[in-house]
Symmetry: C2
Subunit: 188 residues, 2 copies
């Protein structure tokens, strides 16, 4: 099992009911269910268009508590779109990390362990939606068709979703350990 | 996304505190946390030797609520051990299914959907331990070193662990749909 160090560059919360856009906070107590006050908080959540196998609104297990993006992947998206930067806020991300460039490829079942002992478990790739592209377009009005082009530029670079496996406090600047799950000899 | 039909051949509960061995029941109401009364029931559980990244006894998210084995893989284990049969009870399994022969290879994030609308989500391969081998040895006393040989015969045939994604009742004989998660275009 590979172990990779990485750094938490930002912690972000979506606590404005009007938008999925997140805002930076310096620390947060991860609970079972995620970050209290965040729009994705909950041990369970309502099925939506992402889970077409269940009727819309059904209460299901919430595997999308925390979304994480990598600085390296956001830089690649920005390069491709020829914009100065793509901010994690605009994607509604909860964590921005640096040091694991291909974060979106992180295997399901991988762990992210924090200095406090808190732990997240990777529940897979976060598939792109079009909403962040609209936010991006507003920030760069002179760039054409940014909302449309974002979907392609963001493909396989939109990071991962996680569930809280072990509660605990986390801080901006935390050095985390990423335990990469190897499907041929999987962690349990 | 591939969709494969399969059949629930048995439902089993581990409700005897003295043993992990399960007993057959005809139906059960799946709740968030699994099967009430089962030793693995709970939305959270205690970290044990399977989760060495956390101190033993720490409360963590329970991804091992329901264990499932396939009739086809148990038959292959029995063949290799030259015994008449390997029963799901002896492995402490909660469900026995038929129709998805390589169940142990089912990818994380795959869904198992029941006629009632209940759904399980695959949390990965169940790695073998030595305990079921001891049970097997007791049932076939004239076979030598069965406990030892079971570990090898059971390698990559021990089935999967799941969490309840959507509660609901399930019955022996249920025809289920297995939605196979494809990591190149993952379900959400």
């Amino acid at each position: 099992m590979e172990k990779v160090p990485a750094k938490v560059r930002a912690i972000l919360l979506a606590d404005d009911p009007e938008t999925f856009v997140t805002r930076r906070i310096s620390e947060v107590n991860l609970e079972f269910g995620g970050m209290r006050g965040d729009r994705h908080f909950g041990v369970t959540s309502k099925a939506d268009s992402r889970q077409p196998m269940y009727p819309r609104g059904t209460e299901i297990l919430n595997r999308r508590q925390i979304t994480i993006v990598s600085e390296e992947e956001l830089a690649r998206i920005a390069d491709e779109l020829e914009v100065e930067s793509v901010m994690p806020e605009w994607l509604g991300a909860n964590l921005l990390v640096k040091g694991f460039p291909d974060l979106t490829k992180l295997t399901m079942g991988s762990r992210i362990l924090f200095p406090s002992g808190a732990g997240l478990i990777c529940m897979g790739e976060n598939q792109p939606c079009t909403l962040p592209g609209d936010v991006l377009q507003k920030h760069y009005e002179d760039h054409e068709k940014l909302a449309f082009r974002f979907v392609r530029a963001g493909y396989k670079r939109r990071g991962i979703v996680c569930a809280v496996e072990r509660p605990g406090i986390i801080h901006e600047g935390d050095e985390v350990q990423i335990l990469v799950n190897d499907f041929t000899n999987p962690m349990q």
